[in-house]
């Protein structure tokens, strides 16, 4: 087999049994990681299962491209019933970078599917054909950095592992499986699933190889793709520790820092954040190293450019911890194995906005809310991780906290299903403008987790493209219609000056559905290959004069690696099949259109750039259009039998029919 390693490792922790399964059972029909996981979940995850049930599956999967040199390969995915789900837990996907994905392929497996619950703390040690469930006594209770270092001491420095921190052991609902210093499968709280299974780590080391069907073609296509993402250049030195240029904090000389350092194995995109070495902490003597990227940098400083957010926080600064305390904090979150996103956008943002707007939480929390004080963060993180005092409640995640405390609901930036704002224009992504968050709302409504990390990152890239003429031209090239980016955000008036005209409103809610569907099908392909959302789909390339990317690149890479010749259209169809299968999985859990519509209340709040709220009537019409284009029933949001049979999912349709869930 080319591309795929050929075997999936199955582990039952209860009976301590390990066996393998042929990957060819699932591919090429289900492509790889996300497709295979959806199929396994459909076959084996019973509906209505709680995330902490021992029959829950923890699936760590890679795809046919993992382990090969090229842009954005070597990521992996974690799937399963996610504790973060609210009001009830359900299936989620979450992706993770680092080196584990490549290493597990070199050990000869396309993924690890774990069920059951170990009697005592254990970890899984995978060394080629030798797979052992080992005692994790010495590792239990250790932070994620120490756990990985100890595993490297046990099994050699080329061993790479996905571990859970103390947060996962204590079943914090947003604990992450983590690897290296800041790679984490953020959404869903799969770290708590690891903790509930008493599984501390999955360590892998492999000496096998990933075979490529056509080596020359692979190198050619890979370099062609990489040329559109990253030029041949020396990384410039780090001079600032700030989040964005608008908030400049120069790097102190005594902190060593490197940029584009330690990327995922074999990937030359270099998306990663800044690596800090030997940072003197405010509370602890030294933070040896940590990587601070993406959301983690909000700890260092956070400013705002949107006028409404300024009013809400009373100035341009949210908070400004500075380099030392900020980096230390980011490192602590990584060490504990908590999700940066939920800590920053969820819990702490809610506390901070409550405080700035005169809601006193000190009595409920038992400690003052002082986001400028490193001691506050230390207390907060420790209490959450070890479930001390109020931390026991905070560890349950934003919506469950609000249900209990009942204060400041409007400041909790949870869009739906227990997952925080991303691409909504009303929270941390406050700069995301109308009309682009309209498509964002549709992404949110029809996904089962935060869609902005692996589905719609590139939609925001197109939406925020600075030159309007180019933006329109790109939309026309990509989706065949300019409507995907209309009305131009530059022409829409602020709500205080009248807001968008009815014509602009009509435009904003028209022609968004095809783009959303295209991105969703594409995200399945990227999640199955596995490719990285920071590079793919290659819709825009700023390194090319006309900024056009190449959307056929996934098909070319797939064909070159696996030898299974697939065109772009065929691959999109495979993506659509998996997306529908995942939808059916949720339908079986009880999801309907009513659940999709729960996102509306969040988006009806005025946005933070122009104060424009979601137009509910027009949005429902947009949803109708989406369901129709998808071939789903408009009133219930369930895929129709014709559609499922067209996608060769007759057995799925039959089961839904048996349960009485299929529309007549």
């Amino acid at each position: 087999m080319y591309g795929w390693a050929g075997k999936i490792l199955r582990v039952d922790l209860t009976s301590e049994k390990v066996w393998t399964e042929e990957t060819s059972k699932y591919v090429p029909r289900y492509l790889g990681a996300r497709g295979i996981a959806a199929k396994i979940a459909w076959d084996e995850l019973k509906p209505g299962l709680d995330a902490f049930d021992e029959n829950n599956l923890l699936m760590m999967m890679t795809g046919p491209l993992s382990g090969l040199p090229g842009p954005g390969t070597s990521r992996s995915y974690v799937f399963g019933n996610a504790p973060q789900g609210y009001p009830k837990t359900w299936y989620m996907r979450t992706s993770i970078g680092g080196r584990w994905g490549a290493e597990i392929k070199y050990a000869g497996y396309d993924g690890v599917v774990i069920r059951g619950k170990a009697l005592r703390p254990s970890y899984l040690w995978i060394n080629d054909d030798n797979v052992e469930i080992r005692d994790a006594g010495p590792l239990w209770g250790k932070d994620t950095f120490t756990t990985q270092r100890l595993i490297k001491q046990f099994h050699g420095h080329e061993t790479h592992s996905i571990v859970c921190g103390p947060a996962g052991e204590n079943l914090v609902r947003y604990a992450v499986p983590a690897t290296e210093t800041e790679c984490a499968a953020g959404t869903g709280g799969m770290g708590a699933v690891m903790g509930s299974k008493k599984l501390k780590a999955v360590a892998a080391q492999g000496s096998k190889a990933v075979r490529v069907a056509d080596r020359e073609r692979w190198l050619k296509v890979g370099e062609y793709a990489a040329d559109m993402i990253h030029p041949y250049k020396k990384s410039p030195p780090v001079t600032e520790v700030s989040y964005e240029p608008r908030y400049s904090i120069p790097k102190p000389d005594y902190i060593q820092a490197r940029r584009e350092y330690n990327p995922c194995y074999g990937c030359d995109i270099g998306c990663k954040g800044t690596y800090f070495i030997n940072v003197p902490g405010k509370l602890y003597p030294t933070t040896n190293t940590t990587e601070v990227s993406c959301i983690g940098r909000s700890f260092i400083a956070r400013g705002t450019t949107s006028s409404r957010m300024e009013r809400l926080v009373g100035g341009r600064d949210w908070y400004n911890l500075g380099a030392e305390a900020g980096i230390e904090n980011a490192a602590n979150v990584n060490r504990y194995g908590l999700s940066h996103w939920e800590v920053i956008v969820g819990i702490s943002m809610w506390m901070h906005l409550c405080k700035l707007n005169g809601i006193d939480l000190e009595q409920d929390l038992g400690f003052p809310v002082e986001p400028e004080n490193p001691r506050f963060w230390d207390t907060l993180l420790r209490k959450i991780t070890y479930r001390e005092g109020i931390g026991d409640l905070l560890a349950e995640g934003g919506p469950r906290v609000i249900d209990k405390i009942g204060k400041g609901r409007e400041f909790l930036k949870t869009v739906a299903w227990g997952v925080c704002e991303h691409g909504g224009g009303r929270g941390i992504w406050e700069w995301f403008t109308y009309p682009h968050w309209v498509a964002g709302a549709l992404f949110w409504a029809t996904d089962y987790r935060d869609p902005y990390s692996d589905v719609a990152h590139k939609q925001s890239g197109l939406g925020q493209f600075p030159d309007p003429k180019r933006r329109v031209e790109l939309a026309k090239w990509l989706f065949g219609t300019e409507g995907a980016v209309l009305p131009l955000q530059e022409e829409v008036k602020d709500m205080e000056q009248g807001g968008p005209t009815p014509q602009q409103e009509d435009l904003a809610y028209a022609d968004k559905a095809p783009m959303v569907i295209w991105h969703q099908n594409r995200s399945v392909i990227i999640g199955s290959m596995v490719l990285c959302d920071s590079g793919f789909p290659l819709t825009i390339s700023r390194l090319r004069p006309n900024c056009h990317g190449d959307t056929s690149i996934e098909a070319q890479l797939f064909s070159a690696a696996t030898g299974v010749e697939m065109s772009e259209a065929e691959l999109d169809a495979a993506g659509e099949r998996v997306f529908n299968l995942e939808r059916c999985l949720l339908i079986r859990e009880g999801r309907t259109r009513k659940d999709d519509e729960t996102v509306i209340s969040f988006f009806k709040q005025p946005d933070y750039t122009k104060g424009i709220p979601l137009d509910e009537v027009r949005f429902r019409r947009l949803m109708d259009q989406y369901y129709t284009l998808r071939g789903w029933d408009v009133s219930t949001g369930v895929p129709k039998r014709e559609k499922l049979e067209q996608l060769d999912l007759k057995d799925v349709a039959d089961e839904l029919d048996n349960r009485g869930l299929l529309p007549a």
């Binding site: 210093t181 490529v212 041949y232 020396k234 995922c264 070495i277």
Partner: protein, 169 residues
């Protein structure tokens, strides 16, 4: 009064060490790594393995990028193609190690290698075992051969951390 006499380098070497010069092996170019520029992505290792073995594997690469994420230590281990190659002198199998007439690279002939590992043990830089390593599938040792003058690892590196260093002959 100063008298300056111009002596060519070649002449100088002939005068200084006539015996050594006559015994000297042809010098070789080598691939040099710069840890300040290296991102430690490992694309070079995979290009190496792909071009030599046809499949991607970290453990079949002829160079080794080591990075410890928890201390920030980085090292790029490439074959120095030494002027006095301990590996070549340690090899007991006639003809198993030779010198590439084009680049000067110290080569292992996979057809003649018996997998004894004398070369790997003799190499003074091979502490991590990433410069001369065993390919268990064929039971032969593998090392950098400079790809006949066009090293694939250098082609792979987008951070320009690897360079082809010509030694003065």
């Amino acid at each position: 009064m100063e008298v300056s006499v111009q002596v060519s380098n070649e002449a100088k070497e002939k005068v200084v060490t006539p015996l050594a010069a006559s015994m000297r092996l042809p010098r070789s170019s080598w691939v040099k790594g710069d840890t300040e520029l290296c991102s430690t992505c490992g694309t070079c290792e995979l290009y190496c393995s792909l071009s030599h073995e046809g499949s991607a594997s970290r453990s079949k690469a002829r160079l080794n990028v080591i990075s410890d994420r928890f201390t920030g230590d980085t090292s790029i281990e490439t074959c120095r193609q030494c002027d006095v190659p301990a590996c070549l002198y340690a090899c007991m199998v006639p003809g198993a190690m030779s010198i590439d007439p084009k680049t000067g690279a110290r080569l292992i002939d996979e057809d003649k290698c018996v997998g004894c590992g004398n070369c790997a043990r003799a190499c003074p830089y091979n502490a991590h075992g990433g410069i001369i390593r065993l390919n268990p599938a064929k039971n032969v040792y593998i090392k950098c051969d400079l790809c006949g003058g066009e090293p694939q690892c250098i082609r792979a590196c987008r951070y320009l951390a690897l360079s082809y260093e010509q030694k003065r002959v």
